[in-house]
């Protein structure tokens, strides 16, 4: 259990490519941080730098009180769960879990107790004598978790641990990992490209883009006040609608329609989440419907507003659907972004 403190950490490869731009942040004791972003955004590199699998080009990394920049991965008091589980194929489940402890000079009895405890916690007890090749994907994932737990680390690192599992198992493991992390009260960093995982598991989310941290915030902050159009369109499924508009005297005009929104004059992007748009005959914004996706509980209406793509997540009740619908944008659900920089206004 420990805090993590990162100061101006960055990574530049020998060929000059900058994988991680200087970033600073702190992680509180027992907090679960999710690093999320598209492929190549540097999230895995950042995690691997914390693990010690990649060198840190500049900056300081502290785990607890220690600066660990130059320590071997084995000395950093961390445990990591890999995407492909990375179990030792020639060792049984019990030995896989015990290996790290053995190397730290724990006594045989202590190792046996810890392994038994972890196995109990993860319902792996009947599988302790099996080899990884005899386990299913979900079971292997559990063993990988067990291997991390028995070490009693200061910091848990997860590198896309669920992306090899099927959707149902992924959901189950998500809950399991979250529960386990809470119960053990271990600080954790979790990398994923899946925004649902990020939203559901995180205490705080770090959204990364092109090697830099775009926004840090709790899931609801990220969802309600995205700092940029990147965050707005990355987090949330379907993504936030962004309409090109013109701010003019306290109003933002999109095509023929306008919404009340005080801001400086100029081009802006008007953002609204599909689920916050209301379809109503009283609405003021015309919407051309082209496609309906049934989701069961609700349905997605694809179409255009003033010639720009637009999606509405409408409740599955009996609203009369026609090719031309009127939409209402609640004022408190609107977001404004600078058209040039994409930053929130």
């Amino acid at each position: 259990m420990a805090t993590v403190s990162v100061t101006d950490i960055s990574k530049t490869y020998p060929n000059g490519a900058q994988a991680v731009r200087p970033a600073s942040f702190d992680i509180a004791d027992g907090e679960l941080i999710v690093l999320v972003g598209p492929s190549g955004c540097g999230k895995s590199t950042l995690l691997r730098m914390v693990a010690g699998l990649e060198d840190i080009t500049t900056g300081d990394l502290r785990i607890g009180e220690r600066v660990v920049n130059d320590l071997d991965p084995a000395e950093r008091d961390i445990a990591m769960v890999f995407q492909n589980y990375a179990l030792y194929p020639h060792m049984t489940v019990a030995k896989n879990m015990a290996y790290g402890l053995k190397n730290r000079g724990a006594s045989k009895d202590a190792i046996a107790t810890k392994v038994a405890e972890a196995a109990e916690m993860l319902s792996l007890t009947p599988l302790l004598d099996r080899r990884p090749s005899q386990l299913s994907g979900g079971q292997r994932q559990r063993v990988a978790m067990g291997r991390a737990i028995v070490r009693d680390p200061a910091l848990f690192l997860f590198d896309e641990p669920l992306s090899n599992l099927d959707a149902k198992l992924r959901h189950q493991m998500r809950v399991e990992i979250r529960n386990l992390q809470r119960r053990l009260n271990v600080t954790a960093m979790y990398v994923t490209h899946d925004q649902v995982e990020a939203m559901t598991m995180a205490d705080r989310i770090f959204v990364l883009n092109a090697g830099g941290i775009e926004q840090i915030g709790t899931p609801s902050e990220i969802y309600r006040t995205p700092a940029s159009t990147f965050v707005a369109s990355f987090m949330g499924a379907p993504p936030m609608n962004l309409l090109n508009g013109n701010a003019d005297g306290g109003k933002v005009r999109v095509g023929e329609s306008a919404v009340q929104m005080p801001c400086a004059d100029g081009s802006v992007l008007l953002g609204i989440r599909p689920e916050e748009v209301a379809v109503s005959p009283m609405g003021t914004i015309p919407f051309k419907l082209t496609l309906i996706e049934e989701l069961g509980a609700s349905r997605l209406l694809h179409g255009t507003v003033a010639g720009q793509d637009f999606v509405v997540n409408a409740p599955n009740d009996d609203i009369a659907l026609a090719e031309e619908l009127m939409l209402e944008f609640p004022t408190n659900a609107l977001h404004l972004f600078d058209a040039e920089t994409g930053k929130r206004l």
Partner: protein, 293 residues
């Protein structure tokens, strides 16, 4: 597996024929000939042969010379296998860590693979030549008179050096590709679990390399037993009497220089049984033990 059905019953036979003929002509026929003639004593001038039962075998069993050659073959095989595998493993592990110029470096290490065994033997004999050999010179510098082809131990030493040198690249290629097929994440997991590089190697890397290493072990034993013929032939300079030779070379000298075809056949049958045992062992081990997935 998909079952193919042939409408004409002769078709599959015809398709198998080329392979079967090759095996029959180049393996079963000579093998049968060897077994057959091992029960006869041939006239040295080729005028006839007498059935002698198992005499050729009992003669082998009692021959102290055969025992001596067998002893040397065992020693030679163990040393060559151990050294060529060990050195290749060391090189592969080191080459695996090279990042800059890795391709050039690896190619240089595989270079020797392209040298044919007799040429390797010839190169070796030049290196150890009495007059111009640099290795002989090196030994002379330290005050030792290396005499290849005359001194039993010196010849054995040179044979081992050249045979090992010749075999290292093959082992290197296999071991390096074996090392590189170990998943990166597994190595990284080990990096987090264990601080000591040496311990990581023996606990994780080596066991994962074991399927490759075991395959190479069999290949190397076979190499040392049979494929070193060219090297030995050059080294002993047609003068096997006072020099160390292996069982395969003895088959050749007894059969073709001593004209004792029956005895030579019996020896090759013994070797055949040896290879059979090795093969059985390889299949059993590979199937049962060493594969993890």
């Amino acid at each position: 597996m998909k079952r193919a059905a042939f409408s004409q019953p002769l078709m599959p036979v015809a398709l198998l024929m080329p392979q079967l003929i090759i095996i029959a002509v180049f393996f079963y026929w000579p093998a049968w000939e060897a077994i057959y003639s091992s029960f006869f004593l041939q006239d040295p001038f080729g005028f006839g042969s007498n059935y002698v039962g198992a005499d050729n075998y009992t003669r082998l069993a009692k021959s102290s010379e055969y025992a001596k050659v067998a002893g040397f073959t065992l020693f030679f095989t163990v040393v060559v296998t151990f050294l060529s595998l060990g050195i290749a493993l060391l090189l592969a592990v080191k080459a695996d860590k090279v990042i800059r110029g890795a391709k050039t470096y690896r190619t240089l290490l595989m270079w020797v693979y392209a040298v044919a065994p007799p040429v390797a033997g010839f190169l070796g004999s030049l290196l150890f030549d009495q007059n111009i050999g640099p290795i002989t010179d090196l030994f002379a510098f330290f005050g030792y008179n290396l005499q290849i082809g005359l001194n039993y131990n010196d010849t054995a030493f040179a044979m081992i050096v050249v045979s090992v040198w010749k075999q290292i690249p093959v082992n290197f290629i296999f071991l390096l590709s074996g090392l590189q097929s170990i998943p990166v994440a597994v190595r990284e997991a080990a990096l987090i679990d264990n601080k000591s590089g040496t311990r990581r190697f023996w606990d994780i890397t080596f066991p994962l390399l074991a399927p490759t290493a075991f395959f190479l072990l069999i290949i190397n034993i076979t190499y040392a037993l049979f494929d070193t013929f060219g090297v030995i032939d050059i080294m002993v300079k047609g003068n096997p009497a006072s020099n160390p030779i292996t069982l395969v070379y003895k088959v050749y000298t007894d059969g073709f220089r001593g004209n004792d075809l029956g005895g030579s056949s019996a020896q090759s049958v013994v070797l055949m049984v040896l290879v059979l045992l090795l093969t059985v062992m390889q299949f059993r081990m590979l199937e049962r033990r060493i594969h993890y997935t």
